[in-house]
């Protein structure tokens, strides 16, 4: 059961968006987030919404998967809306006891809500259509120029992909240790928070020891296979831009331009 966990909630299907170069998707997501903060009128948000809908449609990912990502932020969304609603000064509309709802408050709160929802959905589209592996490749490639100022870009990407590979293994191991401790009478369930936290010690200590042992083994195995950092290294699956990626970039630039024009200047 634990083996089946896929990280980054990748949704396997074949669509134009899936086939795009991961760099395009990463850059697009960034641009999209920026666009959400540039626009500050309804026309802008309608454009952003339409763009998002179009992309979701193209990605062939069922809409409910996008909603799923939303559950995690419901609470945050609520707080943001409530605070904006009541604490924005301006022309008062309704007064409930000591709290006043202002016209500006409604405007800000609804913008904030739309912004957050679009933001989460936009980044979900990326994680749903890109494997974690591709994403690390894209990050390595995009951060490439930082090598000049001695940022260990390759090493960071390698660490990310190794971490991703070991998450299921360590989860399984946690499960195993937990069962072994339960079999010896350990209690992970009852008691208050402090007691529960304390009961995790016999779980975490063996887990850490084994993780270090694994790290040591893995380092040795990597060295035995001639790993010596990013230099002189070739790629089995090098990222290559195709025609569709160029088209995607053009669309993104157009979208940004439209957003700036409609969402900022026309107001």
């Amino acid at each position: 059961m634990l083996r089946d966990i896929t990280l980054g909630q990748y949704y396997q299907t074949d669509s134009v968006i899936h086939r795009l170069d991961p760099r395009v998707k990463l850059v697009t997501t960034l641009c999209y987030i920026i666009s959400l903060f540039i626009v500050d009128n309804w026309i802008g948000y309608v454009i952003a919404g339409l763009f998002l809908l179009a992309v979701i449609k193209l990605s062939k990912v069922p809409f409910k998967f996008m909603i799923r990502g939303m559950k995690a932020i419901v609470f945050l969304l609520l707080i943001a809306v409530v605070f904006n609603l009541f604490l924005t000064p301006g022309e008062p509309l309704v007064t409930l006891w000591k709290l006043t709802i202002t016209r500006e408050g409604i405007r800000l709160a609804s913008f904030m809500a739309v912004r957050l929802v679009f933001l989460i959905m936009g980044s979900s589209v990326m994680t749903l259509t890109t494997t974690p592996n591709n994403l690390t490749d894209a990050i390595e490639k995009l951060l490439g120029p930082l090598k000049v100022i001695k940022v260990p870009v390759h090493e960071i990407a390698m660490m990310m992909s190794i971490a991703l590979r070991f998450i299921p293994i360590l989860l399984e191991e946690t499960d195993k240790i937990m069962k072994a401790q339960i079999a010896r009478g350990a209690d992970f369930e009852s008691g208050n928070l402090i007691k529960k936290a304390k009961s995790l010690v016999p779980l975490l200590v063996p887990l850490f020891i084994s993780a270090f042992r694994r790290a040591n083994d893995l380092a040795m195995a990597m060295e035995a296979r001639c790993y010596r950092g990013g230099e002189h290294r070739t790629k089995m699956k090098p990222l290559a831009y195709r025609k569709r990626d160029a088209i995607a970039y053009i669309i993104v630039v157009c979208y940004l331009a439209v957003c700036i024009v409609c969402g900022k200047i026309l107001w």
Binding site: I169, R214, D217, E223, R225, R233, K235, M236
Partner: protein
Amino acid sequence: MGIIETKDLVFEYIRRDEEGNVEGITRAVDEVTLDIKKGDFIAVLGHNGSGKSTLAKHINAILYPTEGTVWVDGMDTSDEEKLWDIRQEAGMVFQNPDNQIIGQVVEEDVGFGPENLGVPTKEIWERVEESLKAVGMYEFRKYSPNKLSGGQKQRVSIAGVIAMHPKCIVLDEPTAMLDPNGRKEVIRAVRALNDVEGITVILITHYMEEIIHADKVFVMDKGSIAMEGTPREIFSQVERLKELRLDVPQVTLLAHELKKAGLDIADGILTVQELISALKL
């Protein structure tokens, strides 16, 4: 000169206490001199702590000798400039299959070695395909390693080593964590490599059944070579093996006991078939 040669190889582990003072020195490998011919299937036996894994790590230049020398294909392993050539020529497969697979997809893991060597992309794909086919894992190339059985994972690890085109491959107890079926799978793959591709194999194990097909067997005890010879020569000395705390295959043991009881059969019977024909005569 063989593909792997060691001369008076000594390796010492230094144990330190918490302040870093030397507490004691353990000699893990003690004056080992070996000469391994190209294309041979070599088995190294020994109970836990006999120094066999330490010896194996010298062949891949993961450990360097405290005293003595190791040559891999004529290159001295303590020569740092040759380090990567040595590691390419002498591949290594470790015990725990989970801790040596780096890729998140089988084919990517097999490609890891060639990537490190700087092989052009097109050739990496050719090498990956050819090595996965050699161990019979080609149809699993798109799988996540987490979904494979232990034996399959070890075969992927072996493919990962073959993709680097080594002349020799060292397997450090590759079957210790596997079930009997997985063990058979792995040993079959290793034998095929030796027979078909002519790669020199050094198999480190404590399962006696796995060494029957070896060309030469070394038995290690307390860091030095206690016995050496063909499997038949080794297994004919049942008493000596017991002294070294090693188990003998059941058939060999039965034949040995029968002989002791007065039956006239040859020493060093290795397989059931051999015993049957010996008893028929």
